[in-house]
Each structure stands twice: as C-alpha cells, then as structure tokens.
C-alpha cells in the first residue's frame, strides 16, 4: 500500500486551494464506528512480536513526520468516557454514560500540518498500513478531517 496514490474523494478533494499554505488535518482512529479493517483482529490476539512491530511502526511514523516538520500532535484516548451537560446556573453538571452501546468511539488522533490534502491522504494511508496480526498490514479505516482555518489577515 505504501507509495500508491490514495483516491481522492470528490466531496473533499478540492478542500485545499491556497498554494503555498500549509493545512492541518486531524487523523482519527476509531475503537468502534469505522468500517471493519481488512485485517481485523483485536490486538490482544496478536503475538507479542506482532504487537512490538506495530508499536515500532507507529513510533517510526511519528518520528519521521517530526523529521519532515509535519507532525503537530498525537494522543491516545481512554475508551471510557461520559456525557455531560449543563443543568442551569448554580446546579451541578448532569452526567450520563459511559454507554456500552455507543456506536462511535475515538481511540486517538494525530494532527498533521501538510502541504495539501493529497499529502494528508497519503500519510493517513501509510498509518492505516501499520502491521497487525500475522505481520500483515491492518488496512484499517482512518478518518481524515481538515481543520477550519483562522480568517486571513489580508482579505483583499
């Protein structure tokens, strides 16, 4: 997979217009809610060597992006969370959950700052090809979301 050109979805492909402007993208990894990966085996069912190879791949990927000046941030999230909303002034917040049946669950993210949308897709695809069970690429689905930018100083 690495090296092939990702297909650009018609709906988002024209996102990036400014030529010399870097753009930020959020790469989202889901615990649940994404379409099933090609190589879809939970990590605790891999061999320890496969787990180690996966971790190394992820680390190398982040290191390389730091080297190219494209890495901004990466964090993993706990699968447990809760919902919260205000219940009006002077009242404690109302919480709910965690909901076992929640369809979508974010596992973590990486923020990258890249030349264009195509580069973001290329990098996401590389991340998706991290090795998994049997040493084969996972080919999991990652979500790529462009950041909305701040308004430019010069507008005319």
């Amino acid at each position: 997979m690495v090296g092939s050109v990702p297909r650009v979805d018609a709906a988002t492909g024209s996102h990036h217009t400014e030529e010399d402007d870097m753009a930020r993208y959020l790469l989202l990894k889901h615990y649940r809610g994404a379409p099933a990966a090609v190589n879809d085996v939970p990590m605790d069912q891999w061999t320890p060597e496969e787990v180690a190879a996966h971790m190394q791949y992820m680390q190398d990927f982040a290191d390389r992006l730091e080297g190219t000046g494209e890495f901004v941030d990466g964090q993993a999230l706990s699968p447990e969370g809760s919902w919260v909303r205000s219940d009006g002034p002077g009242r404690p917040p109302v919480t709910d959950g965690p909901f076992a049946e929640t369809k979508d669950l974010i596992a973590g993210w990486m923020v990258i700052d890249v030349e264009d949308h195509e580069r973001a897709l290329t990098l996401a695809a590389e991340l998706s090809a991290a090795p998994g069970a049997g040493g084969e690429p996972i080919h999991e689905w990652l979500e790529v979301r462009p950041f909305l930018t701040a308004p430019p100083t010069v507008t005319e």
């Binding site: 605790d44 320890p48 787990v51």
Partner: protein, 387 residues
C-alpha cells in the same frame, strides 16, 4: 556558565528581596528578569559573587518596577532607597519559599508550577513544555498561583507534608521537553533535605534516588516498559543506590517512620537483590504492612497483595486482594499477574486485556496488551499441540 548553579541561587535571591520588603510576586518577577540578564552578561563578564550580583540586579529591577508603579498610583511602599546587604540566611529563607510555593491554598498543579519556577528557577516556557501545555496557559497558572499566595506571610511556618507531596508529583512526572523533571525533583529535595532535619524529607529523597537509579533499565530502546523482575540489574546506577540506602538508613535510625521512608525501604530491598529471585519478599510485605498502617491507602494494599503473592504464593496474593475495590487502578493487572502465576492463563489473558483498556497511560496500556498477547499466543500454541 553553570546553569544548575545559577538556578540554585534563585530561591535565596527571591528570599533576599522579600526580606528587604518586596512582596513575593514582585520579587519573583524581578529575579526572573535578573536571570535573563545573567544569561546574557555572565558568559563574557562573570561576576565574582554570583549571588550578590543576582540580588543587586534583581533589587534594581524591583525598584524600577515599584517606581513605575508608584508614579502611576502614588502608593505607599516599604522601600527605602538602596539596600543594605542582608545576612546569608540562605537555607531558612529558601525553606520559607518551599512552604509558600506548596501552600495548601494552591491546587497541586499550581503548587507544582510555582515551585518549579520560584524554587527551581525554570522558565515558564520550560515548565509549559515539560507539562505539554501552551506557554500562555502555564503563564496564567503561575500568575494565578502568585495571586493566591500574595497574602501569605513568608514568616509563617509551613506544612512540610504538602511540600513533599509537590516534590513527589514533580518526580513522578518523569521527563518530556528539555527539562528532566525527575532530576529537578531530586535537586530540589536534596536542597530541602540540606536545610531541614526531618525523617520524611530524607525518606522522600531516598525514595527518589533509589527509583532514579533504575531509570536506564526501566525502558527498552523502543520506549516500552521493562518490569522490575525483567530489568537488567547491572544497569542500575550503583552510586545512586548507595546514596539512597545511606540516606534511608540514617532516617530509619531515628525511629520516626513515615510513608516515604516505608516506600523507600521497599525500593531499597529491591535494590539489595542481585536478581529478582533473591528479593526478600517477606520483608517487602512487612514494609507494605507498615505503609498500610500509616496511610490506609488502597494502592498500598494492592501493592501488598503483589508482595504477598511472591512471599506466600499466588493463592495468598489473590486472597489479599479480597475486600479491595475492583475499580482501583491496576487492580485488574495485579489480578492477571497473580492468576497467571496460579496457573490460570485464560483468566490472566482476559484480565490483562481488560486492564489494558482501563490503563491510564499509553506505555502501561501497551505493556498490558503485550502481556495479553503473549498469553493468548501460548494458549493458541497449546491448543494446536493438543488438537
């Protein structure tokens, strides 16, 4: 220029300004400004007496700020012209600064930030990077903390217990960014121990030294965790171990046990074993008993269960878990560990996977996932061999 030396002068400089009538917040600002000046000037023109230089420059900065302020607001101030050099009461003064920065009115995060800045002499940028927050956020946290303690008088005796908890927090944060927080915590605790006569300060210093000694052995080159049992003990820093043990023994000899001494005693027993198998687990259990007695902490009881598992067998360890809340952090991991030793790899694998999902930090999560993967792989091989 010796940065460590420079930073060691900061608490005494702040205290000197406070003694001359500056309030803490203004003194701290002035010393930070003098520090910037020192970094600029000293390499070409090193002062004969760095401390006197720092105090003199900081005092001038303080007076400048006061004059600007006074002319704006015509405020009455306790400032009379040029200072008389004060006596060198470094140690006592620094101690008051520790108390102030760890004042109980501060949240732990604020106390940590203020201690690192005013006692440790780190810049706001360094602290921000170490805690992975934006510099503006850290600057606000520090200035809010300074406002909170503004009314606290520096001559009140403080609470050593809160100081120790703050230093412990700093130590546990490890290191990220360009500052080694563990080393910084040791430096500050060492400085505190030099100026106090307290067994628990010594206990905390010993605990830090004994844990720091293992640092090189604690992670693999890929960043993954190595458990205590698996660590290459030849990579432990024997100099730090020797110092930690000496500090601890001197403290224990005074027979006023506290939680940091008890924790350090456990660490010393591990340091004393040439191999994991030689660990004196019966004594370790004894120290955890003391720790449970002193603190009543469920975490201490959880660790005690692990030690009991080693001393008296996994069944006894599992029995020692009874009565503890299964929602405790690391409860599932401890249960998995004991279950495996008890010959129940199926339960162990399941509990390791659950523990990984509940883990609070990435490296621990990865470690637990690997444990689950290892057991599941063995189980599959066995099933294949049997079938």
């Amino acid at each position: 220029m010796d940065e460590a030396l420079l930073r060691a002068l900061i608490p005494t400089a702040i205290s000197a300004l406070c003694r001359r009538g500056a309030d803490f917040a203004a003194a701290e600002d002035a010393v930070q400004e003098a520090l910037v000046e020192a970094v600029r000037v000293w390499p070409d023109d090193p002062p004969r007496d760095p401390r006197a230089w720092l105090v003199a420059v900081a005092w001038r900065r303080f007076l400048d700020a006061v004059r600007a302020d006074t002319s704006r607001r015509h405020r009455e101030l306790r400032v009379d012209g040029e200072p008389v050099p004060g006596p060198a009461e470094d140690v006592d003064d620094s101690l008051q600064l520790y108390f102030l920065c760890a004042h109980p009115s501060l949240t732990p995060a604020s106390a940590v930030a203020l201690t690192l800045r005013a006692v440790g002499g780190l810049t706001t940028r360094q602290i921000a990077r170490a805690y992975l927050v934006p510099e503006a956020t850290m600057a606000q946290r520090i200035s809010r903390a300074k406002r909170t303690v503004a009314a606290v008088r520096l001559d009140q005796p403080g609470d050593l217990g809160t100081v120790l908890r703050v230093l412990y927090l700093v130590f546990n944060e490890g290191y990220s960014g360009d500052v080694d927080l563990a080393a910084e915590a040791i430096r500050l605790t060492r400085q505190l121990a030099a100026g106090t006569d307290d067994e628990e300060v010594a206990g905390l210093l010993a605990l830090m030294l004994l844990h720091h000694a293992r640092r090189a052995a604690r992670t693999r080159p890929d960043g993954s965790l190595v458990t205590l049992a698996e660590q290459d003990r030849s990579r432990w820093d024997t100099r730090l171990v020797a110092e930690g043990v000496a500090v601890l023994q001197a403290a224990l000899a005074r027979d006023r046990l506290g939680e940091f001494q008890a924790q350090a005693a456990v660490a010393a027993l591990h340091a004393d074993a040439r191999t994991a198998a030689e660990t004196d687990w019966v004594q370790v259990v004894g120290w955890y008993d003391e720790l449970v007695r002193l603190t009543g902490s469920p975490v201490a009881r959880l660790n005690r269960a692990v030690a009991v598992g080693e001393a008296d067998g996994p069944r006894a360890g599992l029995a020692a878990l009874a009565g503890l809340d299964p929602a405790l952090p690391r409860y599932a991991a401890v249960q998995a560990y004991l279950a495996e030793r008890d010959g129940d790899p199926v339960t162990a694998a399941r509990r390791y996977a659950e523990a990984a999902r509940a883990a609070a930090d990435v490296r621990e999560r990865d470690h637990l996932t690997r444990q689950a993967a290892r057991l599941n792989t063995e189980l599959r091989r066995q099933a294949a061999a049997d079938g």
